[in-house]
């Protein structure tokens, strides 16, 4: 007998031995949505050491220019709006960059799919303006541009906006660890600096 | 009101003052207390040690003994917890659904002392007088199984002369846990040490609680260390008046220095 049949057979036997009495009903009377509050997103992101900058569509490039030193090399996903990038930086479009090139860059600029105000989270889903997962992972500085319309109040709302089969990365602040005396310390393997540029 | 006293085997045998105080208090408040003599032990020790089969006759006896009474009180959060949560479970595990139903019914009519006073009798000022500095340990079963909340504290705050001081880390277990104190004596002792440290930090001269078992544990530790802090059951404080300080002298719960 193969392990699949063995395991499934055991599980069926276990349930048959003492059948559960549940109806399967799940009470979902928790909050499904909430009032949208951009200030809350800013406060929650900041609380976990993300640096938040408010901007308008036409001041993104200016804002980013102020965040990155002149001449910085910046990885960008292929579909990032060209107007977001300041002329002061050297752009490396991800047309199949290798990991070493990505890791050697000073920063990465991406868009986002969704942001959750209550938890201070941005979610990337691999769309053309966000790119492959690796580009937002190896550079030490991540600049993530979020449009106001992408912000939701709660986690349930975020999940309804996301497409399950896309590779999803939920990011809440820079890389951190609580492994040393259970205190949150920023900066382990992921980007140690997270800038969120919020467009409204 | 006619109230049946579920004395608990520990109070009956080792700490009768807590039980006598319960009787005196309720009588002073104008109620009739009866003591069904067929009662022995609720079986908690058996259940918690892993002997549910041996506990079954004790559950049966308890249910039979207290079934005729509308209101039942015990000066113990732990034993009321056992009646509420364990009796129906033991009966059900033994396949006796009828007993389980009756046990649930008895449990609904069974109250821990502070619950009875505040919820059923509607009093918080029981007219007690107890001129001491007191700290209250909310025992785990009163706190988390029964959810007595601040009822004991409301009762204590209304006691004349009593200086109530908050216990740091009050919600931490004292380390008794019945069979736990025997089987894991070292860990139990470590928990007790921390609890005593917190009690001593309050500067109280009396530590009170609603469970004789935890007080026995705590009182035993405090006595061994010659701390001079007495353990006194909540019922004894509430029963004390200007005329009769039941919690004085050798009547105290715990042991002499």
């Amino acid at each position: 007998m193969n392990s699949r049949d063995l395991v499934l057979g055991r599980l069926r036997a276990a349930l048959a031995a003492d059948p559960p009495t549940t109806t399967g009903a799940v009470p979902r009377d928790y909050r499904q949505s909430g009032a949208l509050d951009l200030d809350r997103l800013v406060q929650r992101l900041t609380d976990y050491r993300a640096q938040v900058h408010r901007a308008a569509e036409d001041t993104v490039a200016e804002t980013i220019a102020a965040l990155l030193p002149s001449g910085a090399t910046v990885v960008v996903p292929p579909g990032l709006p060209a107007g977001w990038l300041p002329p002061t930086v050297t752009v490396l479009p991800d047309t199949g960059l290798d990991n070493r090139q990505i890791g050697a860059a000073d920063a990465v600029v991406t868009a986002a799919a969704v942001a959750v105000a209550e938890t201070g989270t941005v979610v990337l889903d691999g769309s053309p303006d966000q790119g492959r997962r690796v580009i937002s992972l190896l550079p030490d500085r991540h600049v993530c541009v979020v449009r106001a319309g992408q912000v939701v109040a709660t986690v349930p709302e975020a999940l309804t906006r996301l497409v399950p089969h896309r590779p999803l990365t939920w990011i809440s602040g820079p890389s951190a660890t609580s492994d040393i005396e259970l205190n949150r310390v920023e900066g382990v393997h992921g980007p140690r600096t997270l800038h969120v540029v919020l467009l409204s | 009101m006619r109230i049946a006293l579920f004395v608990t085997c520990l109070a009956d045998t080792m700490f009768p003052e807590a039980a006598k105080a319960t009787v005196r208090l309720l009588e002073r408040l104008g109620h009739e207390v009866v003591f069904p003599a067929e009662q022995t032990c609720c079986g908690q020790m058996h259940v918690n040690t892993g002997y549910q089969r041996e506990a079954l006759p004790l559950v049966r006896r308890h249910v039979r003994t207290f079934d005729p009474y509308d209101v039942i009180v015990a000066p113990s959060g732990s034993c009321v917890g056992s009646v509420r949560h364990q009796h129906p479970m033991v009966a059900r595990r033994a396949g006796d659904e009828r007993l389980a139903g009756r046990a649930e019914d008895v449990a609904r009519r069974t109250y821990e002392l502070s619950e009875l006073l505040v919820d059923v009798l509607g009093v918080t000022d029981v007219g007690a007088y107890f001129p001491h500095r007191v700290t209250y340990h909310p025992t785990c079963h009163s706190l988390r199984m029964l959810r007595v909340g601040d009822r004991p504290l409301r009762l204590l705050r209304a006691v004349r002369g009593l200086d109530l001081v908050a216990l740091p880390a009050a919600e931490q277990c004292c380390g008794f846990g019945g069979t736990f104190a025997v089987k894991n004596a070292d860990t139990s002792t470590a928990m007790l040490a921390d609890k005593m440290r917190h009690v001593l930090a309050t500067g109280a001269d009396v530590c009170t609680a609603g469970d004789a078992s935890c007080l026995m544990h705590l009182g035993g530790g405090l006595s061994r260390l010659r701390t001079g802090v007495r353990t006194v059951h909540l019922a004894e404080i509430l029963a004390a008046t200007e005329h009769r300080d039941t919690a004085d002298g050798r009547n105290r719960l715990g042991v002499g220095p």
Partner: protein, 476 residues
């Protein structure tokens, strides 16, 4: 063919993995209790996390509702486990993954070892996973000449310190910053001796140390926090980014997952993604959560294997009361609030699952006889039940398991005698008169005879009163 031939529920095999300790809990606890540094570290860490967690849970007005939903989803999962696993298998396969079934630790270790061998790699990077610790995968890989590299900071501290994990979430919780610094200086080549014990500096050292390994290793092994049957999506919840590295950089990803981690629908994640971070690290959301479904062309590993692990879970499922232990989402809140865990630490439990959940899960996975002291490693204070984000009634489970443990003969005799006496008021009164219950256990006075001596070692016992309550009542 009848179902019996398809296999009866089975416990986890002995001789492999880390579910059984080598000594009883009280004995192991005694050693831990004698280590004041350990107690200080644990006391500090658990106090910190309790406060953090309470603060972020208080922020949610609907915590109780989320908890009820989480519990209901898990109840439903267990009732439909075979069906959901088959659905998950189909969805993962559809999305380009390969699903393997492992009946026990040996099975799983063999599957993973073979998969790694087939890639030709002699090293794997690992993101912290309880399931792979449970089955002893690192030992199995090492025996096959494959080097497993733990990439979670705490796991790295444990691995470099030649130590054992002592907490579900923070395996090095028993180490403070000064000890961690020493371990790094000793075990990591090329660390600057001027390294301070600032947590940020320690984290930076780990970052440098592992970066090259991340970039050059072709195979990763992970666990999973959740797997969605409806979509075939896997989720890993983490903090440091080592998870993202393992899930993104290698060519091959192997995920080993306990079968109870499946959830029915995508929507169910909305419950657990709120419960887990707040209950575990005390954060509104952990820094990183990765979700993937099979293989995504051009992004991340192009070969994905999912290993579904039984290893005793079917035996847990067979017990109506016991099966709620399979609701566990490994948040470790029950450890953090447990007064016993806080004083003994995790090693005393012998198994990779320490604390209250370990005390109810390990004995069920192995069969209670193999972990007979664990169900007693609790004062039944109930703090774990209050803290558990999926409402597992751990005290009830402990009592349930104590009933199944093989009892010492002397104790069984004493308990039977006590039960007999207490069911006969005459005898009971006689016993009270003779010794006032104390005699049931031994002599009166300051001490009690074995096995009760432990209790009186540090406490005085009260003298029995002159008169029992019922004597007083009778004379009134």
């Amino acid at each position: 063919m009848s179902q019996v031939f398809l296999g009866m529920p089975a416990t986890a095999p002995a001789g492999v993995g880390h579910l059984r300790g080598t000594e009883s809990f009280p004995r192991a606890a005694r050693r831990a209790l004698a280590d004041p540094q350990l107690r200080r570290n644990l006391g500090h860490a658990t106090t910190t996390i309790r406060a953090k967690s309470a603060a972020v849970i208080d922020e949610l007005p609907d915590w109780a509702q989320l908890r009820a939903a989480g519990s209901a989803i898990k109840t439903d999962v267990l009732a439909r486990l075979p069906e959901l696993l088959v659905q998950l298998e189909a969805k993962v396969t559809e999305a380009g993954g390969v699903v393997h079934w492992a009946a026990d630790a040996n099975d799983a270790n063999r599957i993973v070892t073979d998969l790694v061998r087939a890639t030709g790699s002699d090293r794997v990077i690992k993101v912290k996973s309880m399931a792979t610790q449970e089955i002893g995968l690192n030992e199995a890989l090492a025996a096959a000449g494959i080097e497993p590299v733990e990439t979670d900071l705490a796991e790295l501290i444990v691995q470099l310190g030649d130590d054992r994990p002592s907490h579900i979430l923070v395996p090095a919780i028993h180490r403070n910053r000064a000890e961690i610094r020493e371990i790094f200086l000793r075990a990591m080549p090329g660390v600057d001796p001027a390294l301070t014990d600032e947590p940020a500096a320690l984290a930076a050292v780990a970052r440098r140390y592992l970066r090259q390994t991340f970039l050059s290793t072709r195979v990763a092994v992970s666990g999973a926090n959740f797997a969605v049957a409806q979509t075939g999506t896997l989720a890993v919840v983490e903090s440091e980014g080592n998870g993202r590295m393992c899930l993104t950089l290698p060519e091959t990803l192997i995920t080993v997952m306990g079968i109870e981690k499946v959830v029915p629908t995508w929507q169910d994640l909305e419950v657990f993604l709120q419960l887990l971070p707040r209950a575990s690290t005390g954060e509104r959301m952990n820094p990183y959560t990765s979700m993937w479904t099979g293989v995504t062309s051009g992004d991340g590993p192009q070969a994905f294997h999912l290993v579904l692990l039984d290893n005793g879970r079917s035996a847990v499922l067979a017990d109506r009361t016991g099966r709620q232990a399979l609701h566990c989402i490994r948040c470790s809140a029950c450890l953090n609030v447990c007064p016993v865990y806080e004083r003994t630490g995790g090693h005393a439990y012998g198994s990779v699952y320490p604390g209250p959940i370990g005390a109810v899960l390990s004995p069920q996975l192995t069969g209670v006889a193999d972990n007979a002291s664990l169900p007693y490693a609790s004062s039944l204070c109930g703090a774990c039940y209050d803290a558990c984000p999926v409402g597992i009634n751990i005290p009830e489970l402990l009592v349930h398991l104590r009933d199944q443990v093989p009892h010492p003969r002397a104790e069984a005799t004493a308990m039977a005698a006590a039960g007999y006496t207490m069911d006969r008021p005459r005898l009971y009164e006689a016993a009270q008169r003779a010794t006032r219950l104390g005699r049931l256990a031994g002599r009166r006075g300051r001490g009690l005879p074995p096995p009760l001596t432990g209790w009186t070692a540090s406490r005085d016992l009260p003298e029995p009163p002159e008169q029992t309550f019922r004597q007083w009542w009778a004379q009134r």
